[in-house]
Structure formats: structure tokens, C-alpha cells
Symmetry: C2
Subunit: 314 residues, 2 copies
């Protein structure tokens, strides 16, 4: 295993994918504070919210207020999810840097999530793209349930290729493969990447993993080995899965940055700053977050012989 | 990344490394019940306890009673940690299948953990080996803090080679590299394995990872890629770290078996049975265990469209 990737670009999705799954509705001020902190920690891309119906996701109803409060005096790309033209109009009013449209790889999940067929979703994106083009704003496409669907099971790779081709035809530079319910595994990740790269070589692939079944960072290793340099993650490992209420959420940003640092792969992100953000989020959310590094601390933290009683064994 | 390993042998260490870190002292009957269940689940090797001073680890004071109560009418190898001759005598009285001696890669951790120098540990092993040989019982050697020491920081690979050579000279067939405080990372794991394999090619390497910083299963991928087929893990992901009281423990057996299954690597272990064991342990320990698959369920579990309200986004 010789990782060719020497530098990655991470998109922080905690205030979007993370907070949308939380029972507690985080205050607009806290969101702004966390996002400004993420900028200071070094993120180049932040998916800060979604412009969806406030009835569907009340947790993100304040998308416009959040981005208006965030410090934009920097080069950070602020992106947001947009399901349709109405969302795109709202997003453009806020002068976001990139629109992210999304649909599911499986018909039943798309129907459940967006109340329309995949074909209808794709047709709807055309008007979003037209509006975005008129405003010189790039559009990016996500594919939810890319590695498996909770209703239909395995997703065929050709389905990912099909949608990716349509994304390419719509003018998108990249596609995000979203592991919505934590069904990605090392062999599936490898095969999915290769299918898309073989068929649409000039489309950037972003990997969005959930750690629902514990293999999130193992999947990242597979991605790195396939040359993928774009990843999405959440501070503190927040972000649940509605199909597994007891399971953890997205892969954790601090743990991901920690692994990249240890592998000598550049992220541009200050891990100590990021750990502080995760701890702030933990305080706001009022429960112990699943992130590991935020609790264990840095690897080479030195202890004195008196710090600890003892631990026999290995 | 093309994994050459098609079959792995997992050693379950939950009732040893797991329970020794728990505040609650688990009853002898519960331990026997869990171990008998582990046998039924398909484990070929179970490190069931340690024959150490009950004052040092009261959680494991019942090692002899536990193994006497376990069903031995099978081919499972029951192993136990033994720090010295006194422990070896107790272990042999119980007719265990393999003695596991242990020391640390770093002097300060060995001193703290075992109250002697590495050299003194190795000298002490000679009388353990003599006794074991007289009884036709194999001895295996563990190296704690193999990937980093909480007092000294990084551990030099040559130290691992040095100890492994002495283990080889003592007649051991294998060495376990123990990631006692969760300091292993992909590049360190790769380098450590290669150093040992280059210098002592005929010594089996077992990997014992903790998930303290979230990269436990990523480290397993590296191990697989280096051809390692021997791993140790704990049901439910139990097993803490005295240096990081908030951190999680060993890599989780169910999550490990899940990943192996998905990678088409044979374990011989029934994951559904294993999940039930983890849930029993969770009930016994009375807190939510860090295992993921035990909470999320199997990957291809199908939901009906009515099961879940909805989750917008990816």
C-alpha cells in the first residue's frame, strides 16, 4: 500500500449533516461561532447548511441567517445543499460559493427523501444549473445511498456511473459519493471509485463516509489508495443515521485529520484548534460525542510515571 | 491495495484486556457464560484472563475459577497472560493451552507495569519457559507499548526487533505487538511489521490494536496488506486506556469480523452470535459499549418505507 496522495481537501459538514440529525436545535449564534472557528482552524471548504423546507429539517431553518453572520473575508468556499429551484434561489440570495444538489442512487430512497423519482430530480437540476450559471456559481452533485440503500440493499455501480454521467453533462466538476446509512465497505468503495474513474475519468470524486459500522476510516484508506483527495467529515463525529438510532454518525474530522497528519498527508488544518471546536460542540449538544482524538488527546502527549497508577497487561 | 490474506485467526481478549479495565468486577459466572458463548460463536483462540496478583488486578483474581468453569470439550486454545513463574505455576495447574508472557517495549512502562527492567523480564521468562516446556505447553510473547509509550513517546523499531529476537531464542513461535495506549498509526504499523519480518522472518506476528484515536481498523487494513493474519480484539470494543480515561478501548470484535466478512476474508466466527455476546456484555457492564455493528446491525438489514420518517440530505 503506497499512498500516492500527499495532500487532501476536507469539507467540514458538521453544521449541516451533523446538526440536521440532532434532536437539539443549535442556536444560530452557536452555528456562526463554530463556522468562524472552522475557518480559523484551516478548512478550505465548509458545507454550512441546507436550503430545504424548514418543515422537513427545522434544525437547518436558519441557513440564510447563519451564512449572513459568518465572516466571509477569506478564501473559504461556503457550500450548501439545495434540493430544488426554490432552494437555489434562497441560496443565491445569500451569495454562497457553491450549490450542492443531491439525489439518491436508489429510487425508493430518493422517493422517500425527496418525494420524486431520480429522473425527476435530474430534470429539476437543469433549472438549478441554469440559475447558477446565470449567477456564475458552480454546482456540485451528491449521490446519497451511493454504497447501499436501507430499503433496496446493494446499489449497482452502473447506477453511480449513470448518475455521474448526467452530472457531468450538467456541467458539474465533481460528484460526492454519500454513504448515507454507513453501508460502505473497503471492496465496495474500491469498486465504486474504479467504475466511475474508468467511465468518467475527468470527474472529481469526493468521499462522504459515515462510521455507522466502524469502518469509516478504513474506507478512507481505500480512497487514498485509489488516489482520492477529497473527503467530507463532521467535527466530533456527529451526524446520526435515522435507520440506526444508536449508531454514530459521519466520520470524525479530528480523527481524520489525525490519521492524515500521521500519514504525512497535508490537510492545512490545525488539529488542536479542531479539537477545541469539537469540545465546544460537545458542550453545546450536551452529550459525549463519538470523536476519539478529542477525548484521547494527541498521540505523543507525555505522562509522568506518577500520572497513572498502573495497567497490567497489554 | 490487493489483500493477500484470505483467512484470519482472531483471538478474543474481552474477558482479559476488556474486563481488567472495567470498574465493575464482572462475576465469575458471567465470565464463564460469555466465554462459552465465544466458543459457540466460533473463536479458535480466547485469551480468557491473566494469572497476575489479585491485588494488582482484582478484576481478574478469579482466573483459575473461570477456566475451571469453561467448557473445554472443544479445540479452542485457551490462553492467559502470565507475568512470572508464580503466575505460570497457577496457569499450568489450570491446564491452559498456551502461556502468554509480556513486557513493554519501553523501559519506563515496563518498570511501571511490572516493576522491573526489560532485561529482568526476559531473564524471568527463562524459568517460565523451562516449566512450560516440561509440561509441553507453548509460550507466546507479547510486547506492550509496541507502537508508542505514554512516558517515552515513539518506540524504536530496533527495540521491537531486539525483543522479538530474544523471544525467538526462547523458543516462541510468535510475538504480539500490543498497542497498549492506542498510539499505532498506519505508517508505524507498516514499518514495525517490515522490520520484524526482515530480521526474523519465521516469527508469526499478531496485532493487538486499541481504537483510542479512531484508527484501529485502518491499522488492521495495513496489517492485512502486509500479510498479517493474526489479530486480537474485544467484544463490544471494551477495554480502556488508563492514560485516556474518556477514550474507547480495544478494536471491537464484531466490527472487525464485519469488516473481514465484507472483504471476503474468512474468520470462522458467526457475527450474529458475536453481536448477541456484545449485547450481553453491555447489559452486564451497564453502559453503552463503543462497538458500532452491535448497535447499527447488519449491513443489508432492509427497512420498509414506513420504518423511518425521513432524512434529508446525504
Amino acid at each position: 500500500m503506497d499512498f500516492g496522495v500527499k495532500e487532501v481537501v476536507l469539507t467540514e459538514v458538521g453544521t449541516r449533516d451533523g446538526f440536521q440529525s440532532e434532536k437539539k436545535i443549535v442556536s444560530t449564534n452557536d452555528k456562526i461561532m463554530l463556522i468562524n472557528d472552522l475557518v480559523k482552524a484551516g478548512f478550505q471548504r465548509i458545507e454550512f447548511s441546507s436550503f430545504v423546507s424548514p418543515k422537513a429539517i427545522p434544525q437547518l431553518a436558519d441557513a440564510a441567517e447563519v451564512i449572513k453572520g459568518v465572516d466571509r473575508n477569506n478564501d473559504v468556499k461556503f457550500t450548501a445543499l439545495v434540493p430544488n429551484l426554490r432552494g437555489a434561489i434562497r441560496a443565491l440570495e445569500c451569495q454562497i460559493d457553491e450549490i450542492v444538489v443531491f439525489l439518491s442512487a436508489s429510487e425508493s430512497h430518493n422517493q422517500k427523501n425527496l418525494n420524486r423519482s431520480i429522473h425527476e430530480s435530474l430534470t429539476g437540476f437543469e433549472e438549478v444549473v441554469k440559475l447558477a450559471n446565470d449567477n456564475n456559481i458552480p454546482v456540485h452533485g451528491d449521490i446519497s445511498t451511493a454504497f447501499g440503500c436501507p430499503f433496496e440493499g446493494n446499489v449497482q455501480y452502473k447506477k453511480l456511473v449513470e448518475i455521474s454521467k448526467q452530472y457531468k453533462a450538467l456541467g458539474f466538476k465533481g460528484v460526492t459519493l454519500g454513504d448515507t446509512t454507513g453501508m460502505a465497505t473497503p471492496p465496495i468503495v474500491k469498486a465504486a471509485i474504479r467504475e466511475i474513474q474508468d467511465n468518467i475519468p475527468d470527474l472529481d470524486i469526493t468521499l462522504h463516509f459515515h462510521n455507522t459500522r466502524g469502518v469509516g476510516l478504513a474506507n478512507v484508506l481505500i480512497g487514498l489508495n485509489e488516489g482520492i483527495y477529497l473527503y467530507e467529515s463532521c467535527f466530533g463525529g456527529i451526524g446520526g443515521c435515522p435507520f440506526a438510532p444508536d449508531a454514530t454518525g459521519n466520520i470524525c474530522s479530528e480523527d481524520l485529520v489525525y490519521m492524515m497528519n500521521e500519514m504525512n498527508i497535508k490537510t492545512g488544518i490545525n488539529i488542536n484548534h479542531l479539537i477545541k471546536i469539537a469540545k465546544k460542540a460537545e458542550k453545546i449538544l450536551e452529550y459525549k460525542l463519538p470523536g476519539q482524538v478529542m477525548h484521547a488527546g494527541e498521540r505523543l502527549k507525555k505522562y509522568s510515571l506518577e500520572d497513572v497508577k498502573t495497567a497490567k497487561g497489554n
